[in-house]
């Protein structure tokens, strides 16, 4: 057996089964533990949101991000590999943190992406990036919360009011950069739907009709993007 055959078999029959087993266990436990704060609000503080609000909130998020739950793992899988997929989706910050760290580590350890050796190195690098990331977030949150609480009232209110729109604008611009025509159409659709709702013209729908605004915005924009793509009006992402 040549060295590459044996390393292939260590990877396929030893490493990957371990990763799939513990990746699944840790991810499912994380799902369970992620309910901690919500259940604490319920059990310790007796804060019981109306069921309709929780269902409405979940449905609105599902309409907004539901497709992305599936598309993102499938899109990133070829670059992240199996171990990287478990780690990156549990810890987040994929494009800005995990992928650059994995790529840089493969470069410095002189292994090729897409090989078993490359996958081992990217696993090690992503694990290292997670330790750093969580350490910095933990130190940062303990430093930032007192700073925020010490701010004068108008400062806190300004942070609460005007950071959020800046972030929404910036992320919209970031995605719109590659597809400006899709961005323009999307903004027209979303603004029209929002105004319809503000003026009460969606009142014929049951509940708070936010979900309808989000649904039409998201799927209308996807449809517009698809039509433009079919008619060669947009360049595919390189």
């Amino acid at each position: 057996m040549s060295p590459s055959d044996s390393s292939e078999s260590v990877y396929e029959s030893n490493f990957i089964p371990y990763i799939n087993r513990w990746g699944r266990i840790t991810s499912l436990l994380a799902v369970a533990f992620s309910f901690g704060p919500a259940l604490t609000l319920l059990a310790i503080f007796d804060i019981v949101p109306p069921a309709g609000a929780i269902v409405g909130g979940f449905l609105s998020v599902a309409v907004t991000f539901g497709l992305i739950w599936f598309i993102e793992p499938i899109s990133y899988y070829p670059v992240l590999g199996i171990p990287g997929t478990y780690m990156a989706f549990l810890s987040g910050n994929i494009s800005n943190l995990r992928l650059p760290c994995a790529a840089a580590a493969q470069e410095s350890a002189d292994v090729d992406a897409g090989t078993p050796q490359g996958s081992i190195i990217s696993t090690i690098a992503i694990a290292g990036s997670i330790f750093v990331n969580i350490t910095i977030l933990t130190v940062g949150v303990f430093a930032l919360v007192p700073v925020f609480e010490a701010l004068p009232e108008f400062g806190r209110n300004a942070l609460e009011s005007y950071l959020v729109p800046a972030i929404f604008g910036a992320i919209f611009a970031q995605f719109g950069r590659d597809y400006p025509k899709v961005a323009a159409v999307g903004l027209c659709i979303a603004l029209a739907m929002t105004l319809l709702m503000e003026f009460g013209l969606l009142a014929f729908l049951p509940g708070v009709p936010l979900y309808a605004v989000i649904f039409v915005s998201v799927f209308g924009t996807i449809y517009a993007a698809k039509v433009m793509w079919e008619n060669d009006m947009i360049e595919p992402d390189s």
Partner: protein, 249 residues
Amino acid sequence: MEWYSNTAVAPAYMDVANSNWLWISATPVVLMVLLQAGLFLRRAWKNGQEMGLSDDQLRSGLKTGVISAIGPAIAVLAAMLALIATIGGPVAWMRLSVIGSVAFELPAAEIGISQLGYGFGDDGITETAFATSVWTMTLGGIGWLLVVAVGTPHMEKARERIVGGRDTLLPIVTSGAMLGAFAYFVSGEITSGAPETGSAAVGGLVMLALLKLADERDVQWIREWALGSAMAVGLVVGMVVHAAAGGGW
């Protein structure tokens, strides 16, 4: 929205949002992320040696991962401030340590409180509205985890079946979905008033300018700090517009 009027006290929900109980309840899931990284690291090291990787290569991989993470991880802190300001420290810490991206958590939080008719920055946001936000972020975030927990071993087959020769369509559908979603969030800000509109518009423009600069000069750290800078400038513009023109519409 008149953010300075009638706000002699901080929103009542902030006491709950920054309470010790929430810190305690947020900790186990963060530990789970560390546990997974630790298990994977140990196993990759051991199997890597068996596969003929040298200790030098393994060490170099770990070192590079650690060093490369520092810049982007500090940049994430800037965005964390927005979450601390809206949903408090413990939930911000947990949501950004696990699954965590501001691009999901902030919209999910906003969708949560808007179920009860509020927007962040409004007066009198109730504890119930805050709890609805937490539930919405929690339920929305597990989507990715469940897909990954159940689907990763089958991802290769799923990819072939779904993508099957239409590789260029996938990024377009993703971008269309993100653009539609964020067009909706931006529209909500535009209809809130002039300061919000100014903040969103300038935040977008700063982002575009910095990403263009980063591409032209090929400088990675500009890219990492683009969102943080866009936030800072957008915040100032929001305050200035408010001071100059009031709430607008």
